[in-house]
Structures are given as C-alpha cells and as structure tokens.
C-alpha cells in the first residue's frame, strides 16, 4: 500500500519537474521583452550562486560572507584573460572554465586559513579576506584599478542578447542545483551536516572534518567563480566595488534564510523572490535610498517571523494539514478483543498528542 502512495508521489514530482523545465525553457519565448528577461537572467544568476553557497554554508553551518571573492575573481579572470590573450567574440565563453579554476585555486588557501576557526571568527575572517580582495582589485594595475575591466563585444543582436544569456544562466542554475542535490544525497553531504550539528562529535566519529569542509568550500567556490564569469559577460564590465560587493554576500544569506537554509528548494525560492524585488526597487527608486530601507525591513521580518525559512515552515504546515484527524504514527495493531471500527475517528486526536 505504501509503495503505491510513494509511486504516485514520485510520478507527480516527476511531472511537476517536466512542467517546470518546459516553462523555464519557454519563458523567453513567451516574455520576449528584454526588460523582463533582464530580471530573469539576474534571478537565475543568483539561483546558481546561492545554490553553490548553500552547498558549503547551508550544509556545513559555516556562514561565509566571502563568496563575492570567488564571484568577483571569476568575473575579473574572464575580463583579464580576454584582454591579455586577445580573445574576441563568442569564444570568450571558452574562458569560463578558467574562471571556475581560479575560484577553486583561491578557495584552497582561503579555506585552509579560515576553516581553522569556527562560527563568529570564521565569518569575520571571510569578511577580512573579502576586503583584501576588493582592495587588491582597486590597487593592482593589471585589474585596471578603480576603472576595472570591460568585456569584449559579443556579436549578438541586441533584441536576442538577453535570450542567449537566459539559457546560459539557466544552464548554470541547473548545474548548481544538481550539484546541491547530489551532495545532499551523498555520504559527503551527510558528513557535512554532521559537522553542522556537532563538529567535535563528527570528528570523534571519524569524519575527517577539515578535508570535508575544504572540499565543500572549494566546490562551492568553483561554481561561484564560473557564474561570476557569466555575470561579467552579461554586464560587460566589472569594477572593484561591483565585483566585490558586500551586499552580494548579504543577499545570498538573506535568500538562503528566507527560503530555508540547507534545503535544496529554499535558497532557489529565496533567490527568485529577492533578486527581482531588489532589482525592481533599485530601478524604480534610483535616487532615493528607500530600496535599502525596505531591504532592511525585509531582513527584519524574515528573522523575526520566518526564522527557519519558507520551505521548512510551509513543510510543517502541510504535514500538520495532512495528519489532521489521523495519527501521526501508524496505530499498533490492536489486540483481537478491541473493536476495529474505532481505528479512525475520535481517538486520532489523542494519538497526536
């Protein structure tokens, strides 16, 4: 009996996934306006990055405020490589693996230093490293100083420019989500969550914590660097304050918390809600600082009213609705003397307590 339920559930989930995929692919065909696809591209960029962030921070509980280091470095890598190696046109996309590799290479020493400490101190070290990178980008000459770097010209029709990037960022987002799912289901993901729950005990049980944390950190950085490269090609320029933006890291944290830290769908949902909202506010109120105040207010609301995130909270509601009038635990088969018709009905509410 249970297996039929499970099979129908799995079929529904599969069907929903197919519908979702079709909708995602058809989106730019239906909404062809560049204004709307612009929102979609940014949202997908953040879906990809926040999923990558979640693989490390959400699963391990180490909140990183330094992922802009990988994102920005990925952006700079593509820009500098294209400039110095004279890469033009569509072939700049061949540089994206280099951006990913640079993200990974930076993450190794960064992680080796930062992952020695925990909690607050880890957060502060990621902030410090973030500022070191921002300042280096502004001070070195090969990064173009405060002027930054511009992307080579892409020979695409302006009307379809956004559509190309829509599919590229969609690809990135899918890859990032698939990585998150695979990690979560693996032994490696279980080790990460063991570290989140109690690192000392995890170590006592034989988890090689440093290796596991560092692997997740590097994996997360690799994807972030790659997406940073895509972001740069879309925006066509990067300066130190835009590539290494402190608001970027805090947005990631907010997205993950709003949706549900450590879940797969949560951060994705958070990105889809917050990034378009943020973009809308900055476009709508260009002169004022109302968007900033509203963003702050949203932070407060999330922290005070949905502290565990949308996905876990809604999940609990659904569970409560489903189990209403039914025992949460299957009743133990009653002794033969008990009258069977009472199995459903009045006693259920008692069983729930």
């Amino acid at each position: 009996m249970g297996s039929t339920v499970m099979r129908t559930q799995r079929a529904t989930a599969g069907l929903a996934l197919i519908v979702l995929a079709a909708a995602a692919v058809a989106f730019p065909l239906v909404f062809s306006s560049p204004v709307i696809t612009n929102y979609a591209v940014y949202a997908l960029i953040f879906v990809a990055v926040v999923s990558a962030w979640n693989v490390f921070s959400g699963f391990s509980g180490y909140i990183s405020l330094g992922h802009a280091v990988f994102f920005g470095s990925g952006a700079y890598t593509v820009g500098i490589a294209a400039r110095d190696w004279h890469v033009n046109g569509v072939s700049v996309f061949a540089l994206l693996p280099v951006a990913a590799a640079v993200g990974a290479v930076i993450a190794v020493p960064f992680g080796l230093v930062a992952l020695r400490v925990r909690r607050h101190t880890f957060i502060v070290i990621t902030i410090a490293v973030f500022f070191i990178f921002q300042l280096m980008a502004a001070n070195f000459s090969f990064t173009g100083g405060s002027v930054g770097v511009a992307a080579p010209f892409l020979p695409w029709n302006p009307t379809s420019f956004n559509d190309h990037f829509y599919y590229i960022t969609l690809g990135c987002a899918v890859v990032a989500i698939v990585i998150a799912v695979l990690v979560r289901r693996s032994r490696f993901g279980l080790q990460l969550r063991a570290i989140r729950d109690d690192e000392d005990r995890a170590r006592g049980l034989g988890v090689r914590t440093m290796k596991v944390k560092l692997t997740a950190f590097v994996l997360s950085a690799t994807v972030s660097g790659l997406v940073g490269g895509v972001w740069f090609l879309y925006l066509t320029q990067v300066q130190p304050p835009s590539g290494y933006d402190p608001l970027f890291d805090l947005s990631l944290v907010l997205m993950a918390f709003l949706g549900g830290l450590g879940t797969i769908i949560g951060p994705v949902l958070g990105a889809l809600i917050i990034e378009p909202g943020q973009l809308y506010l900055t476009i709508r109120y260009t002169s004022g600082y109302l968007s900033e105040i509203l963003l702050g207010a949203l932070f407060l609301l999330v922290a005070l009213f949905v502290p565990r995130g949308i996905v876990p909270t809604v999940g609990e509601w659904v569970k409560r609705l489903r189990t209403r009038g039914r025992p949460a635990v299957e009743a133990v088969p009653a002794p033969a003397t008990a009258s069977p018709p009472e199995a459903t009905g009045a006693p259920a509410s008692e069983a729930r307590r």
Binding site: R118, V129, F131, L261, F299, L304
Partner: protein, 292 residues
C-alpha cells in the same frame, strides 16, 4: 627616515585610541550577548551625525555635546536589543543576529542618506585644526583629546565591570548564562543594558571619528570591517585586548602608510589573517576561538 617612523608610531597610537573607543563597545556586546553587531559601524556614524547636528544647529562644543549624544545612543541601543535581538533563539542564532543587526545597519544608513545625502561632512571645532609640538613631534589636539577620552572610558568601563554589582552580573552572564540565570540574575536586563552601553560608547567614538575624518552614511562599512578585525585580534570579549589590538593595528597601518598608502589597509587585514594562523585565540582570547 627614523623621524618619520617615530611620527608614524605616535600617530598610530593616537588613532588607535579612537578606534578603541568604537571597538570596546563591540567586544563588550559580543562578550555578553554572544552576537556580532554589524550595525556598530553605522551607529558610530549615527553618533557622528548627532554630534554634527548639535554643533551646527545649537553651536554646542563637541565634547559637551557628548553629554547628550551618549545617553541618546544608550536609549537607541536598548531599544534595538529589546525589539529585535532579544527574540532570537535557537541553533541559527549566530547567523540570525548577523542578519538582524545588518538589517538595522541598512535601515539606519538609508534614513541617514534620506536626511543628509551622500555629501561627506566633517565635525569642526577650534581644536580640530590645531596641534601641539612635543619632543619634536606634531600631535593633533583632537587626537590627543580623543585618546584621553578613550582611556577614560575604558577605565570607567573596567570600574563598572569589576567594582559594581551590575558589573559582577555582567561578568557572570559572560561566563555562563544558564548559571547566571539560576542564581537569580535578570539576564535579559543585563543584556539590554550591556547592549545600550556598547552603543553609548560608540557615540564618543563617532564624535572623535567625525572630527578627524570626513564621513557620509556609507562610511560605516569600512569601519565595521576594521572594528571586527580589531576585536578578533584582541580576543573576542576582551576589553583590554580591544584596546591593545586597536593600537597595534593602527600603528602597523600607519607605518606601512609611509611607503604606500594604498597597501596600508590591505596590510591591516592581512595582519589579522597572519595573527590568527599563528594564534587562533587572538592576543587576549579567553578561550580558543575554535572551541566556540
């Protein structure tokens, strides 16, 4: 050359005193409430704007104005703690408090932008421009006064913490919150007052900062990252450590500044990373940071 180095050290020590004024509040809040108050930087700037308002509109002396701004900031601190931070509990408290204090920072910054705009301001008084000539060094008056103020405030905080009943309950809460609650300490009250004190101290720091630097609502971010580096280096929760680390970091920055002003701030953060690799507890850490 040697002369330049001595002057840089003297400057570093004095500026370090000003940073200590801001960092002490942050480390005190961490010690008692176990949270990192990201809003501290913006609240320093808010303190500077309050002083600006008093000196420009009411022509009040900057140091005299502190008699108004310090209590005002105390009230603001207590309100923030009572309204937002008190409610946070559970496993994700560390990250949630980060979010909440960051939200407060964003809101305060946005409001300051709406009122004052982005143009940089600076506090002015007769002693801001003048300097004294001691043993062949030129020392700016405002930095000297600021340093004296910093030392006075740190001494006063020590006196409160180690010579009063309230201070004893604060230290008890720092050591073990559950045990403190069990012996009848009103932990919520201690937390609210400590948060208020930590913010009140920044009013003084903000005034001296505003008199020695130009500031706009955005200046808080640069400040908070430096302050965080300082309190980690000093050992989280250690007031003396914050004082020493401020002086150390600012002296290092001031020395590097002789050769290259651009790289001075990078060295500032790099110093933090290097020290933590060698000594994860910071200078005066009570317990290993990695054990927390």
């Amino acid at each position: 050359m040697a002369r330049q180095i001595y002057q840089a050290i003297a400057d570093g020590i004095l500026v370090g005193g000003v940073y200590a004024l801001m960092a002490v509040g942050l480390t005190l809040i961490f010690g008692v409430l176990d949270i990192i108050n990201i809003a501290q930087g913006v609240l320093v700037i808010l303190g500077a704007y309050l002083s600006y308002e008093l000196s420009v509109r009411l022509h009040l002396d900057l140091f005299l104005g502190l008699l108004i701004t310090v209590p005002a900031m105390f009230v603001i601190g207590v309100v923030i703690q009572w309204a937002f931070i008190r409610r946070l509990r559970g496993r994700e408290r560390t990250s949630m408090t980060l979010l909440v204090t960051y939200a407060v920072a964003l809101i305060v910054e946005g409001i300051l932008y709406e009122i004052y705009g982005a143009n940089p301001k600076q506090l002015n008084a007769s002693y801001v421009q003048s300097s004294v000539h001691v043993l062949g060094f030129y020392l700016s008056d405002i930095y000297l006064y600021g340093f004296v103020l910093a030392v006075a405030i740190v001494v006063a905080l020590y006196a409160v913490l180690y010579r009063s009943t309230f201070g004893r309950s604060v230290r008890a809460t720092m050591q073990d919150e559950t045990a403190a609650r069990l012996i009848g300490i009103d932990v919520n009250r201690v937390a609210a007052i400590t948060f208020g004190l930590g913010i009140a101290v920044t009013a003084a720091g903000g005034m001296v900062f505003g008199a020695t630097n130009t500031f706009n609502p955005n200046s808080g971010y640069d400040l908070i990252s430096r302050l965080l580096a300082i309190i980690i280096l000093g050992g989280l929760g250690s007031i003396g450590g914050a004082l020493v680390a401020s002086v150390f970091m600012l002296t290092v920055e001031s020395l590097v500044d002789i050769w290259s002003p651009e790289w001075a701030i990078v060295v500032f953060y790099a110093a933090l990373v290097v020290v933590l690799v060698v000594r994860p507890t910071g200078f005066f850490g009570r317990q290993p940071v990695r054990a927390q």
